[in-house]
């Protein structure tokens, strides 16, 4: 395959975004077609690329003497598989957006944002070195900022966009330090060259390497919204729902996992051994548990899904951190399956929201099954996949993760099992409350089936949610991720435990929520904590207020008062004061001058004659 195609997969969306932003802002119709066209083309190129051989392309981006920063594409199994996910989900989201954003005045800007995102995400996936990855890492953050803040007239959307960007910046702070430290240790930014540098690691203390890896993980912490930097993701649901599906469920938030896996693949799994990997795994586990708990008490359909995304991302991070033989592959496999069914769920929720006239509270929905059967069926498929019901795609990947956890960290395994119980519980809650029973709100009662342009992406995604886990499909689309390490049999204790968890989850969900019009757990103290998201936001608000703002005020005061007023202002005032004094003396009054003159003489005589 010619180089041109490899580059065009990166540059096509950029061109699309640039052209839309610069030329087509007023011509939304053409802009939309252009963006969708570029997404379709990249998807085709990604498919074609599946058959190409591994290689690395590079151009020098910045040169300083003997030092170069390169922009390069690395094309291997990992990036090819990830590209299928990115461009595939991307294309479907583009299509869905065609219908979803039909009424929006600023849809040209919206599609430009989507194109920028496709560009940046492609860049992350194909990045051949850490600096380039950081470049696109920042760019996805930026496009996410743009898209979350699409409806910037709303305060909540503007704040959410800002929050997402800033929290990601905090993660990137660590990420960049990590990159620089790894550069110091390994001597290279390029992934291809890292494996040659492993000897260098042996010379350096493993502690230093561990710290560097953890700092790099900070990037994933922000981007993949792990505790404690997870707070931006639920707020990011202020953006249009297709954006949530693409960026905040399927692709961008998974970039952290992808990056860790890329690092593991390049520099060897050794650097994840020791405290670094353990910390990463525990953070993943804790995130998945906390997020699952929070998800049980959310009323906003998108927030339920957002917390479930957090929870699933925690799974993936945990798997990568386990640093077992195939655990990271399991994590990546989960990323791949999760992308399809979570995008499906989000788009489904988008369709529901669209049908219900932008009602997002599940307690005001209900009975949607009668009114929009097709959507409901696809949503049910997605829910089942997320619950990991055999033989949907989620099942395969989740079992692998549980298997790996069981193998490496039994404590985390049990933690994961709790999550595996909670997931079916809250998804059952969501499905029962929103789709079954009777309509509880005007929106839900007036809901109609969504237009076909929305339905087709849903069909396609539910198709993928069903088949993506089967070996032939997985082998074709994502050869790097798929490592079935065991057969699922009733003799396997892990399988039995997870099956039990699934049944308990679904059963309790049905038991608690069947036929209810309000959440029966709402008054419970423990569930109140879940509802309030463990008060993370409140604590952070206080922290920000105390540290950032208070320090800023104090420093500003000091700066203004001491440096500005006392030191400098003092100088200025002295100068102008003395000047004023002399100006006053300069009265033009002859007698005044003579008087001063005489007084001066007296003084001089006194000083020279008498004062000695």
């Amino acid at each position: 395959m010619p180089e041109f195609f490899s580059w065009s997969i990166l540059l096509l969306p950029l061109c699309s975004a640039a052209v839309i932003q610069l030329l087509l802002r007023e011509m939304a119709g053409i802009a939309v077609r252009m963006s969708v066209g570029s997404a379709a083309t990249t998807f085709v190129i990604a498919l074609v690329m599946l058959g190409s051989e591994d290689r690395t392309l590079a151009v020098q981006w910045a040169t300083a003497g003997s030092f170069h920063i390169e922009i390069g594409l690395i094309i291997d199994d990992l990036s090819r598989g990830m590209m299928i996910v990115v461009t595939g989900v991307g294309l479907l989201v583009h299509l869905f957006s065609l219908a979803y954003m039909k009424e929006d005045e600023a849809r040209a800007r919206y599609f430009a944002g989507l194109s920028i995102f496709m560009f940046s995400m492609t860049g992350i996936v194909l990045a051949s070195n850490f600096i380039m990855m950081f470049i696109f890492w920042e760019l996805v953050g930026f496009s996410s900022y743009l898209l979350i803040g699409h409806w910037f007239q709303k305060n909540s959307a503007a704040e959410a966009a800002k929050k997402a960007f800033l929290v990601n910046r905090i993660g990137d702070f660590g990420f960049m330090i990590g990159i620089l430290m790894l550069w110091g240790i390994l001597g290279t930014f390029a992934f291809r060259e890292m494996s040659e540098s492993t000897t260098v690691i042996a010379q350096n203390s493993s502690t230093l390497t561990g710290i560097a890896v953890l700092l790099v993980f900070c990037g994933a912490l922000g981007k993949s919204a792990q505790v404690p930097l997870h707070v931006w993701l639920p707020d990011a649901m202020e953006g249009p729902t297709p954006v949530s599906a693409l960026i905040h469920a399927a692709t961008m938030v998974a970039a952290g996992v992808y990056m860790l896996f890329r690092l593991q693949l390049s520099a060897g799994i050794e650097i994840f051994e020791g405290f670094a990997g353990t910390t990463i795994a525990w953070i993943g586990g804790i995130t998945s548990l906390l997020a699952a708990l929070m998800a049980t008490q959310q009323d906003d359909i998108k927030r339920v899904l957002a917390y479930s995304t957090l929870s699933q991302l925690g799974y993936m991070v945990m798997a990568v951190g386990l640093a077992g033989e195939h655990s990271a592959e399991a994590g990546m496999f989960h990323l791949y399956t999760h992308a399809w069914f979570k995008a499906l769920l989000f788009l489904g929720s988008g369709a529901v929201i669209y049908a219900c006239h932008h009602e997002q509270n599940i307690w005001k929905m209900g009975g949607l099954f009668q009114r929009m059967r097709k959507t409901t069926v696809t949503f049910a498929v997605g829910t089942a996949a997320l619950m990991a019901i055999y033989p949907l795609s989620g099942f395969w990947s989740k079992e692998q993760i549980l298997e790996a956890a069981h193998h490496d960290q039994p404590v985390l395994f049990w933690l994961a099992i709790i999550v595996a119980t909670l997931t079916p519980f809250y998804m059952t809650r969501l499905f029962i409350v929103a789709f079954l029973g009777k309509g509880r709100g005007h929106g839900a009662q007036a809901a109609k089936e969504v237009p076909p342009l929305m339905l087709y992406p849903l069909f396609a995604l539910s198709c993928m949610a069903v088949i993506a886990g089967f070996t032939p499909v997985a082998e074709t689309l994502s050869p790097a991720f798929h490592h079935p390490s065991h057969s699922f049999s009733l003799a396997n204790p892990v399988f039995l435990i997870s099956l039990a968890a699934l049944l308990v989850g679904i059963g309790s969900g049905i038991l608690v929520y069947r036929g209810r019009d309000a959440d029966p757990l709402e008054g419970n103290t423990i569930f109140k904590i879940f509802r309030n998201k463990f008060y993370f936001d409140e604590v952070y608000l206080v922290l920000v207020r105390v540290f950032q703002n208070a320090v800023a005020i104090v420093v500003h005061f000091l700066d203004d008062f001491i440096i500005g007023n006392l030191l400098v202002g003092g100088l200025v005032r002295t100068a102008s004061g003395v000047g004023n004094l002399f100006r006053k003396l300069q009265s033009g009054n002859l007698q005044g001058y003579a008087f001063l003159f005489g007084a001066g003489i007296i003084l001089i005589i006194y000083l020279t004659v008498f004062a000695r």
Binding site: Q591, F595, G598, I601, I602, I605, Y606, F610
Partner: protein, 210 residues
């Protein structure tokens, strides 16, 4: 002798006080002359006959006439033009001179050599004796000193222009050059006064043409 001193000192001080106190500038000018005459008498009492004479000639003659002339020209003799200074200035204007006098008198008590001696004219004549000349053909200064009169015009001239030989009877750096400078100064002053007194008329015929 002290009687004359006190008399003329009183004349000059009273004249000075009158100069300050008279409201009419003409009276002030006249009292200034009185003061200067007294001063000239003091000069003469100090054996500085030449200086005393030019004090009278220049100040009491020329300068006073100039002042009077200007006062007449500007028509300022009417006492109605007088304006009293503010009390503050009055007080300040008295305190400063007063403190000056106090300082002065404090210093004066420490000045030594107050004893006045008559000038030893005949002894001084010896230092002007020129051995290369005939005894009858000695210089004017020598002759005058021999006659017990002080030839101060000649002596000032000698100081101004310096000696011909290396007669060390008088220490002087020679004032030829300063004298010429003074001449130039007077010339410049003359020209300047003329220039200042010219009336400018072109301002009425519009702005500068260039």
């Amino acid at each position: 002798m002290p009687v004359f001193f006190y008399a003329f000192a009183a004349v000059s001080v009273i004249g000075a006080i009158a100069l300050v106190c008279f409201r009419n500038p003409v009276s002030s000018a006249i009292s200034m002359v009185g003061s200067f005459v007294g001063l000239a008498a003091l000069f003469i009492g100090l054996n500085a006959y030449f200086v005393g004479i030019i004090q009278i000639l220049v100040y009491a003659g020329a300068i006073m006439v100039l002042f009077l002339f200007i006062i007449m020209l500007l028509d300022l003799k009417a006492p109605s033009a007088f304006k009293r200074s503010s009390p503050l200035i009055l007080v300040g204007g008295l305190i400063i001179p007063f403190s000056f006098v106090i300082q002065l008198s404090t210093v004066l008590s420490e000045v030594r050599g107050g004893d006045p001696k008559a000038l030893p004219l005949q002894d001084a004549a010896e230092s002007f004796y020129d051995h290369e000349r005939d005894p009858d053909n000695q210089s004017e200064i020598y002759n005058s000193l021999q006659k017990k009169s002080l030839p101060d015009v000649n002596l000032i001239g000698l100081t101004l222009f310096g000696h011909k030989g290396d007669n060390a009877s008088i220490r002087t750096p020679g004032y030829n050059f300063p004298l010429q400078i003074i001449g130039v100064l007077l010339l410049v002053a003359t020209v300047g006064v003329v220039a200042l007194s010219l009336k400018r008329k072109q301002s009425k015929s519009g702005g500068p043409e260039s």
